[in-house]
Symmetry: C2
Subunit: 340 residues, 2 copies
């Protein structure tokens, strides 16, 4: 059988037990041009929450009754497609289920067995979250050595890589913003940021001004809302704001929290630019090469938060919003599948 988690009703605010349903359907069979993949791990990303809304986005909403859309990894167990070979570990849109069919349309990529890292690390730093950090900082944010860089969601899978990359490339100063003392400690001690501000404490704007007295050259935003507004208040002349995500807003019901400090973009001749990592799909290998070498030479620290069991995927998604995770959140569907 194939256990699947499907969307039962669209959530208002935080997802709960009425949002999704665990069902069982027959295991799919491998037809011509197809490969049968047994799912190993699911990548739990904030964007999944946005796909549950019936709202315009960069992808269509998940249909009611459909399996929850998600990237993940698995192993090829049968193949009638030259692209896939039995035993290959593949990455693609597995969705929240135990088995998936890979073909020429929903193309999966094969993860090289000789990466020298375990599957969880590959899915974190070498997966979409690490790649997002790479292109967001270097391409969208036009990072330059000497920049004062501020990153929100700094303890998270993308934010932690942004800060370490900025440090490795010669940032003058790297300041994180995260929620709570544990995450802030992780950001400074594990990831080597110069400082980390807890957004749950009062007066973030003035603390950020103290932390970056000459202004913020590059602000990498993963959270939106009040934190973005505080960062805009400290933007430096010709500063750049990279909009990667707005996790503080994804569970908001109705109108989103407004940003009041957009006029700082005029005063400081600054820019704000949004992106989606898919736009850089042809260049993923470049990012993965750089990030892999940083793992191997020890300049890139990382942390994975593993949740065991497909049935816990909805809870794992909520961890991203209530701050209960520490590092990249992954759901282990089949722990027996490993890289190399």
């Amino acid at each position: 059988m194939n256990r699947q988690i499907v969307l039962r009703e669209r959530p208002r605010g935080v997802i709960d037990e009425s949002t999704t349903e665990l069902i069982e359907v027959p295991e799919p069979t491998c037809g011509p041009g197809q490969a049968l993949v047994k799912v190993a791990m699911l990548s739990i990303d904030p964007t999944i929450r946005t796909w549950m809304n019936d709202a315009p986005g960069y992808m269509a909403p998940i249909e009611i009754g459909a399996v929850i859309r998600s990237s993940g990894t698995g192993v090829v167990v049968a193949s009638q497609n030259d692209r896939y070979h039995v035993g290959d570990i593949v990455f693609g849109m597995t969705n929240w289920q135990e088995w998936v069919i890979a073909d020429d349309v929903n193309r999966f990529s094969v993860i090289p067995a000789d990466l020298g890292v375990d599957l969880a690390t590959a899915m974190n730093v070498l997966g979409v979250t690490g790649i997002t950090a790479y292109f967001g900082l270097l391409e969208v944010g036009e990072f330059r050595p000497g920049d004062v860089v501020v990153v929100s969601g700094a303890a998270g899978a993308t934010g932690s890589v942004v800060g370490q990359l900025a440090r490795a490339r010669g940032a003058a100063r790297v300041v994180g913003i995260a929620g709570g003392p544990d995450k802030c400690a992780d950001v400074v001690e594990r990831y080597g940021f110069d400082e980390c501000l807890d957004y749950r404490e009062p007066r973030l704007s003035s603390r950020l001004r103290s932390a970056c007295p000459d202004g913020v050259d590059l602000y990498f935003d993963n959270v939106g809302g009040d934190v973005l507004d505080a960062a805009l208040a400290s933007i430096a002349m010709r500063g750049r704001v990279v909009l990667c995500g707005a996790i503080s807003q994804y569970n908001e019901v109705g109108h989103q929290r407004g940003i009041a400090n957009t006029s700082m973009l005029i005063m400081r001749r600054a820019s704000m630019r949004g992106f989606i990592v898919l736009d850089f799909a042809e260049r993923y290998l470049e990012a993965q090469g750089v990030l892999a070498s940083m793992i191997h030479d020890g300049t890139l620290q990382h942390r994975e938060h593993l949740v065991a069991g497909l049935e816990h995927a909805p809870d794992a998604l909520n961890l991203l919003f209530n701050g209960g995770n520490l590092g990249k959140t992954l759901v282990v569907v089949d722990e027996s599948i490993a890289l190399a």
Copy 2:
């Protein structure tokens, strides 16, 4: 004597009779390295209102007791500086007064007598407002032929030039946003926009979506607030938002109205960039050349709203905010001074 309008107290909201004071001081005398300029006209710009606040900006606030800062034109009546010759018509920071000293620090530029336009036109299209439109559209907005362009404050001095320039350079569609039926009629009939939406009518977002069903490639914002938010909701893939001004917010007391749709910048991989025309100061002649030739070949319509008398400068400033002006607002201080 030299009549001056000085800042008496910082306004909260709209300026009123307690904000400024008309005083008389002795006429300045021309010392070594100086020129004495008799002021002809004042350029009344929304940015003057922002300088009255005790808030960080791209220039220091006007000090209490100081003459209101303003650009303007005048004629040189005495000179001990080789840069200035008696009879020259000059442009610079005249401030709100009848006489001003020009020197090597507060450099005035000499307006060529053979421009073939009157002084009011020179101060409008060839002045800061027209130059702002030129660099905002072409440089900051990276205008491309085929763009769908939307301009707020479309009946205003800058907005009307933005739309006409976009049309002349091959925009697919030019849509204005303005306040009230008279201004909207002017935008379509005088300035040749395809359509103009009245922001005072309800449901601007949905009307904008209907006016630009394929999205807005370039939005030139002069007003901020709700109108900016509505434009973000319709931004096209890889669209560009140029932040030129936020006139709807300059009289706001306390926190400014928030922009809720910043996440559209992510979904649409769009960018938002602020600028100040001073950044392009070395290239003003380029803009003036293009704009002058468009006036002469009839492709650039313009309109000036003249207010007579230095003492009415505060009222003239308020016209910008209550919608009482039609075209570039200028205060005539000495009507006897003319170009050529």
